[in-house]
Homo-oligomer: 434 residues x 2
């Protein structure tokens, strides 16, 4: 054994889970994937890296980027483009669509569940590597509004299935606020939407002050805040006093989306005009999502919206779309730390049955029994160490394996339910996986 | 639209697949995972990065490493350890085991299917980012030899299930060659095993010359080459003339492993003394795997073996183990390019049924039908664009969606098999997913 031991410690911002936690994470991923696919979304994966020029094609990004460099860079490589880890899945999706445009069928419905990297400052306790789960639908030139209603329907099914309490998707349409600003003759819409985006984090007086700083008068401020405070069912939205065509379009679109989600539980959807999303990227419907029963989770679990143009920086095509992104790892980590009751962490392995024998002459028979059980859908582990019954029981206990089976003499199998202690003789060929 | 278009191109060594190819890749991953779990292996994932000191704890590695650096590094970060992308899953697994030692149950059976990165020179056409699928069993102090037989049984089931033709796992035991070198009084065993490792790439005369360069005499060379040329069933192995205890132990272990795999098809396993694996890491059983029906795939699909000590550089515990690693992405890519017939690439999406109506008044009914079908296990896509029947047919054709269903008037569903053209009325609530 080496005497020079390098004792490893966790690297801040790069989380990893124990096997029993990972089993739950896998269950979550499986459920999300199954739901996405049940709506016809196909999966893609892109490389973890893009050329830096691709990542910055839209201009400087406000996210911290990790560049990658070979430890021993050679001369020849310097000719190549600089590479960096992607910080989201939208830029790679846009690049992918442009690059493979002729091989894709539109409308293109894709989901993507990969790791992304952000060079956050370590002391902020933020994750630097995490999973996102994204869905987007894009089309050439036009995309029906019905997809704006489909996206939250998918997301509601995804989140409800994770059993993390009640989920509420808050929906707005940026055209309503933008229409109002137009009606109020306010031109710097970007600054104003960024202020409204902070409406939940700041006091009302602070918001008013920020709007005042933008040289808005009291009437303008009152109108804007009144609109941003509008929230409720589709009837509330339909009652909004639309002052021009842009507002009217926004109200109609938002009403259409809410009308199409009427089949969901009451708490699931709410029209909420305070949702604007800071990004100028979105042009119509916008979404944020709140966990109503997990106050420990602050902010939005998943957010997104409608955009006019996915990939114009890479291809000369108009590709409008609508999409949403689940911040998977943060959600999982918050639940893991603050609500283990909901996470339902169980066994340390996928094993259903542990098989063993104390008689090495019966090993071949045991291996055959294991194979029979696997073919019948069970996950079966053979405990190869020849030890006493108690040792095996301790192992199954620690791993929470539900059944233990053993052969004492050729042809006889004994099975024990490790939880109830119930014991029975049984022929493996007749067992059925539940 | 932007007039300043940055046309993206593929980045050498970082492959990505089209949706229809990714569907097959997902099928492969699902099968591999299911098989691993059926043997009781649990999954872990580690971060993509480790501290460089962790990666280099065993000394310089011969693989090219990618270091990651924030684009705008700030003063504070310089105090942190340097980070790099992992180049395999063994080092992270060792580090993980040391770090979480007290939370794990031994024997610890884990599988890991993640991306790894190697800073290969671009002109070599090698992948710089690819998936590996690893299984390992480790235990404290001792690990039964039966696991050396379990590993190839799992791998055979995995590879046979991918339907890529006949697979042959070639098994040896390093103790046999090391014992012979001991008997021949040859001390520099590392150099000799590295030469034998090249036996399939070089001419026999070249191998002899290399051994001569190591100052071996003709008798020694003849003995070594005779041993390295030994291959066949367990009977051939049992006939090896063991000249000392080390050789005898190796022959017994290899015979035990082959005996325990007797239930597999004849071609599946072969004892093959030319397999030594260049790495000094391995101490007993070693594996390589060949695709007998795909000559386009050169070298070993998956390799591994028995080691004495997984993590002694990180923890003061003796952790012997046995494991194997599938070079997933290279296998998938070779099959994709040279044997698409075996890969069986099909539809561009997971959709089973495309639903639509030309009458917007029936949209709610259509959405309900879609939901009913999803609950019955189908993947259902709604075509929201109101267009003519022909347009929908073209879309389903391009995506190879097997069924198309539509509502002409309330309460009547018509379903068409897009391949046979067969058409029928049907109630979605009575459909069953095959």
């Amino acid at each position: 054994m080496s005497t020079n031991i390098f004792k490893p410690k966790p690297v801040s911002g790069f989380p990893e889970w124990l096997p029993e936690e990972r089993l739950v994470e896998q269950r979550w991923f499986d459920h999300i994937r199954k739901t996405f696919e049940s709506y016809g979304f196909c999966n893609i994966e892109t490389p973890s890296v893009e050329e830096i020029d691709v990542l910055l094609a839209k201009g400087e990004v406000d996210k911290e980027i990790y560049e990658i460099k070979r430890l021993h860079t050679e001369e020849e490589e310097k000719k190549e483009g600089r590479l960096a880890l992607h910080f989201d899945q939208t830029v790679p999706f846009a690049r992918y669509t442009a690059q493979h445009f002729n091989d894709l069928v539109f409308p293109f419905k894709r989901y993507q569940m990969q790791r992304v990297w952000r060079g956050e400052r370590p002391q902020m306790g933020r994750m630097r590597e995490f999973y996102q789960c994204d869905i987007d639908v894009i089309n050439i030139d036009n995309l029906p509004l019905a997809f704006d209603a489909e996206i939250p329907a998918v997301i509601y099914e995804v989140l409800a299935g994770l059993e993390i309490g009640r989920v509420q998707i808050r929906i707005s349409n940026r055209k309503i606020l933008l229409g109002l600003l137009e009606a109020l003759n306010i031109e710097d819409t970007v600054s104003i939407t960024r202020i409204i985006d902070k409406i939940e984090k700041l006091e009302r007086a602070q918001i008013k002050q920020l709007l005042k700083d933008e040289k808005l008068n009291d009437d303008q401020i009152a109108s804007i805040i009144q609109l941003a405070e509008t929230k409720g069912s589709v009837d509330v939205i339909k009652n909004i006093n639309a002052q021009n065509n842009t507002m009217r379009e926004g109200v109609e679109e938002l009403s259409f989306v809410l009308d199409h989600l009427a089949h969901l539980p009451n708490h699931a959807m709410i029209g909420d005009l305070s949702i604007v999303r800071g990004l100028d990227y979105y042009t119509g419907t916008v979404y944020e999502t709140q966990l109503l029963d997990v106050p420990e989770f602050t902010g939005s679990v998943c957010s997104g919206g409608r955009y006019d143009d996915l990939a114009s920086q890479y291809i000369n095509k108009k590709l409008p779309g609508v999409g949403i992104s689940i911040g998977f790892s943060r959600l999982f980590d918050v639940m893991r730390q603050s609500r283990p009751d909901l996470l339902n962490i169980g066994p340390k392995s996928p094993t259903d049955i542990l098989l063993y024998t104390e008689d090495t002459a019966l090993t071949v028979e045991l291996t055959q029994a294991a194979q029979t059980l696997r073919q019948r859908g069970f996950n079966v582990e053979q405990y190869h160490t020849v030890k006493k019954w108690e040792k095996h029981l301790k192992y199954t206990e620690k791993k929470q394996i539900p059944f233990i089976g053993y052969i004492k003499q050729s042809g006889t199998f004994e099975v024990k339910n490790t939880e109830t202690g119930e014991q029975a003789n049984a022929d493996p060929a007749s067992w059925t996986a539940s």
